[in-house]
């Protein structure tokens, strides 16, 4: 049970000549919140897309719970208990909020040919979806059309959907981006409660204060390579990291 939940070894993704991710390796332990940081273009979202199956790696391996997952399709990876949010929110706009969550809860049925013909309009399913909405604070908007929600609520909806799918592991892609102060605090509390339930979280975040405060450990990428890994305090003091963010002159000031 001490084996890491996610093991990334020598992961590379090349787009023609561009090495978006170049030989990155790190592990994520069960129950931890790991932050993936780095300046723009560092390869964080590409990493996410590799883990969630949107891209196939050019080289390297990804193992989830002991099982190789590199090269699997996104819907198969979702079926393994990995849920994700998107940096640019992707709600099912014409469906209602609760239908968005129900669509995610359907993961229990989609692979089973007889099952897909059973109804999703049962009260048991509704209750399950509502409890997820309560968790993220959207239960009174259940019948609202998702396309009409403001950004903050859409980010929460994405998390509700990801929770429905991710029984073990959550990938949060800049979920704090564009949120107001109170919303950020609420979301931090939510993610902590998710971890308290036993889930593991990998998040990409630009907001340094959130990342430092929320994450147990950090991995910093730059130009597709891993620059540093460790606890927030260690990483914050790491010269290479400071240089990557602030430039050479900046690191002289910061030291």
């Amino acid at each position: 049970m001490n084996r890491p939940l996610l093991e990334i070894t020598g992961l590379s993704k090349h787009f023609g000549g561009l090495r978006a991710v170049d030989g990155v390796s790190f592990d994520i332990q069960r129950g931890e919140i790991l932050g993936l940081l780095g300046p723009n273009g560092a390869g964080k979202t590409v990493c996410f897309n590799l883990v969630s199956g949107v891209y196939k790696p050019t080289a390297g391996q990804i193992s989830f719970d002991g099982q190789r997952t590199d090269g699997l399709s996104p819907h198969v990876i979702a079926g393994l208990g990995i849920g994700r949010t998107f940096q640019i929110v992707k709600p099912f706009a014409h469906l209602t909020v609760i239908e968005n969550v129900l669509a995610a809860r359907g993961i229990a049925h989609y692979r089973n040919l007889p099952n897909i013909w059973s109804s999703w309009k049962s009260s048991a399913e509704r209750r399950g979806a509502l409890s997820l909405l309560e968790r993220v604070g959207l239960s009174d908007l259940a019948e609202r059309r998702a396309g009409l929600l403001p950004l903050g609520n859409l980010r929460r909806l994405e998390i509700a959907r990801a929770l429905a799918v991710g029984k073990k592991f959550l990938l949060l892609d800049e979920s704090f981006s564009g949120l107001r102060h109170e919303e950020i605090a609420q979301l931090e509390a939510l993610i902590r409660s998710i971890r308290a339930d036993g889930l593991t979280v990998l998040l990409i975040e630009h907001n340094m204060r959130v990342a430092m405060g929320l994450c147990d450990r950090l991995v910093v990428l730059d130009h597709g390579r891993k620059l540093a890994e460790g606890r927030p305090a260690e990483v914050r003091a790491n010269e290479a990291v400071i240089e990557a963010y602030l430039g050479r002159k900046g690191s002289a000031h910061a030291a």
Partner: protein, 294 residues
Amino acid sequence: MSGYLITLGTIIAINGIVACGLNVIVGFAGQISLGHAAFFGIGAYTAALLATKAGLSFWAALPLVIAVSALIGLLLGIPSLRVREDFLAITTIGINFIVEAIFNNFEFFGGALGIGGIPRVELFDLKLRGTEFLVLCLFFLVVVMVVCWWLTRCWAGLACFALREEETAAASVGISPVRFKLLAFVLGTAMAGLGGALYAHFMRFISASDFAFPLSVSLLSMVVVGGMGTLWGPILGACIIGVLPEVFRPLVDYRILFYTMLLLLMIRFQPGGLLGENSAARRVLAKMRPGGTS
């Protein structure tokens, strides 16, 4: 009811069945198909061949007709659904032209002369004609609508809706895009095949030009004008598109022009369809309801 109205009603009912199938593909799953007439034709030719060359009754042939239409839908769907959205429209147009060319050029399908002498449908020794046949078509229309209604309530349908809205997000919640697009496509082509069988036994003579590209355009127009993705949209669309040319008949020479211009205006100003959200019709109805807009 006059014979003319019964004929019109029968054509509308048959078109409604085929349009419902197209609505599953386009409205529920969000996949464009501009070649649906080809599957209508495949159903018609299969029924015609089984009736005239194999001597099967309509009822015995029906499961085969639906199976063949579904199977060919599956075979053509697999490569088609892998291409980018813009390509899909053109690929389905291509399928329509190629299928029509096959029907037109091979002796097995009667070539340019088509297939004639298709017998009427018999039920308990009674040959169905006129009103009775219309009732038969309406019966199948109800069956098809019940299937569509059930689809909206089951996980398969929800998966299709999610896919239509946002394919990447749908995949991230466990929905296999290929599997569910194919499912919608096969259901749609099966329904078209059913309509084709009814058409063959109604007209009793079919030829390739009955299933050409303009019909695919009409069918898509029915779905869009009525309201894509709604349950009653294709039926409403079939009624409107079926009735319009007749309404304009007094205009004699100008009727096709009026019909196409009206289609243009409808698409230009009500692209969501008459039953679609935000349509003028819906807004008027909402104001009429107590409590105002939804």
